[in-house]
Amino acid sequence: MTSPLLPRGSEHARRLDDLLRDPVAGLTRGDYDPPMSRARRLVEGAFKKLDEVSARADAAAVAKLSPAERERYDYWQARTAALNAGGSAAELGDAKLVGKVLHGPAGEVVHGVVKAPKERDVIEDPAAWEEQRRRERAARDEVRAPYLAPDRRLVRITRVATRGKTQLGEIADYLASSGLAGRPDLVYGAYRVPDLISPSSLGSERGGIVEWDVVHAAAEALPRAETPAALTLAAKDVLVVRSPGEPAPLDEDLALHLLDGAGIGPEQTLAIARDVSISRTTAPDDQSGSRIEASVSGVHVLATRPVPAVGAPWDLREGPPEGVVVDVLQWDAIAVAVHPLRQHRAPVPSPFPYLPLTPQELLTAYLEVVGVAPTDAYSAQVTHHQPFDLMGRTSEKWGVRRTGGGPDLPCADGKPRKRMAGGHHIVIAYRDAPAYVEGRARFDAYAEGELHAHLRRGLNLRVAVPRPQNRLLRTIDRVGDVVEFFSGEMGTEDSFVPPRYCWPPR
């Protein structure tokens, strides 16, 4: 009878068998081993086996983590290793900041390391607010100056108003009428501003006002150009071949591969812009109140010539095409500190004046520090990634989260309206060059040194495609839904968000 912990036929197993079969002979043989020593070896062997089994289970669990979870796990592992190597907790910083985007004074307040400083008198008067904002911005520009790329281009952001239903056609028309469509070498990108305007109005955004930002380097007026070609790819369509476990494509990856395949470079591309929509939804049963959810339902491509999109699904490699960078930065982590109530103006004087006040300021900083030339740029956006509840950062009245309560703020058409500021990520896509590698290193030094922020942490991009439920589980789910409907005991809403462009996988 061999112990199941010992490998069959091993030396230990053979000895244990001998010992059990004839204990006296075993003890009187020439190769006598003291019993305690043998027992110790047996126990050690058992523990070694247990360690191996445990390590395999850990490796399997780690392999299942999402990119953001894996990142957090690695940070904690590194911290533990540093502590074991003799590092002190004081040297390594507060554990509450491990793996977090924001560090420094803002991070310490946001993550509860220290108490929030007593609020200074926030300026309500719009003119005084603007004056103070300018002063703070000038101070930040001064800090940023040493990091700027020596051969940086002009960065202007022009905001226009459109109607939700016809926004893509309207922005294409604006690019033509402004002449920018004829000079894609001057355009970094364009994107739907992820703010909700008039949040308390009836109806969907289709009939409402939706703003677009055009990021460009045109210093003067340009002659009218031809209307650019627009292509929209729907996230719910299976456009990319992926198997379970393979990374889901990013919106920009897909658009870039299509452009690459068609031989359309950044000098012919005006924008790759995620199709962001904001809608009101009811909260799952385990949460109270309604949600105002920003979600991505596809991607738009605007270029000077039509982008062919035939033969889907395409078997695309992971990430962007060779030689193209898609850089994604965290914005919401900063917004939590500098703009805590979405439907209000950001408080000024800012509690953390060293941090950018708007996502557009951070986007501009990136372009200027890295020195991205508009002729190399495919996309520059302030946008969203996963479904994002705008109600998560609003004021409350009697425990009820509010959509209003803030002042009317100027819109692109000059009319002031209520608005809820959105924006989660900043996405910049461009053709890479050695100068940009240095530029990104400069930007990282600026972000970590001056903003005390690790803006690429916790992005959770290109998550592994999950395995779809098999037919039996789907049937069980449907039966469960029917039972819940008739019993009146509705369970929690299914919060599964399928990956875009590749669901269901092959």
Binding site: R163, G207, T227, G414
Partner: protein, 213 residues
């Protein structure tokens, strides 16, 4: 330096080949639906408030509902030149559950000029109409000539709760059916429907359609 420069609407600016066209007809229709709907709904509410219940000029006769186990009470005598419907209303206020018990415990009998009889019971109405001070017992059809309506309370509900049935209550007979005073409901429903249609029509008009110039 602001982070963004506001440039107005994307469409309709200098060099734009798109114009937003809004249909004047759709605008007019949505305006009519919204304004008409609001006016109709308001009028409906006002009419309901003022017309529901027996109107003084339509009351044909008054009488009293005899108390339970009590003597005969005043009978209503109606001389009608033509045959036609009439509504018997119990005149009382108070809490609705108490009123409903009293109405359910009421019974009236109509004796027509030709001697035929029609009995109505408050507990057997399809639906009762109630105002602040009146509630229907039922509808009768009067004959041409002299009609007599007599009412009395009858046992209804638990014995311990029949105290109010042992009292006399006034009743009136009104010309017409109980729903004659509910014309305002049609205005209210119609107005609400117009508003429901007017909102999307207005939003559609506001969005307009883009046309190439």
């Amino acid at each position: 330096m602001s982070d963004v420069e506001h440039a107005g609407w994307a469409v309709g600016g200098p060099g734009s080949r798109l114009r937003r066209r809004r249909s004047p007809l759709l605008g007019l229709i949505s305006l009519l639906l919204l304004v008409g709907g609001a006016v109709a709904a308001t009028l409906g509410i006002v009419r309901l408030a003022s017309e529901a219940g027996p109107a003084q000029e339509r009351i044909l006769a008054r009488g009293a509902v005899a108390a339970l186990d009590g003597p005969q009470a005043a009978t209503a005598s109606i001389v009608s030149p033509v045959a036609g419907p009439a509504t018997v209303w119990l005149n009382l206020g108070g809490l609705s559950n108490v009123r409903e018990t009293i109405v359910a415990g009421s019974e009236c009998e109509l004796v027509r000029p030709d001697g035929s009889r029609h009995r109505i019971r408050g507990s057997r109405q399809g639906a009762s109409i109630a105002t602040d001070h009146f509630e229907t017992i039922g509808e009768v059809t009067l004959g041409a000539g002299r009609n007599l309506v007599s009412c009395r309370h009858v046992p209804f509900g638990r014995v311990t709760r029949r105290g109010r049935l042992r009292q006399e209550h006034a009743f009136v007979v009104e010309r017409g059916s109980p729903t004659d005073g509910l014309g305002g409901l049609w205005l209210l429903f119609g107005g609400a429907a117009a508003l429901v249609l007017g909102v999307p029509a207005g939003m559609r008009w506001r969005s307009g359609t883009l046309e190439r110039t």
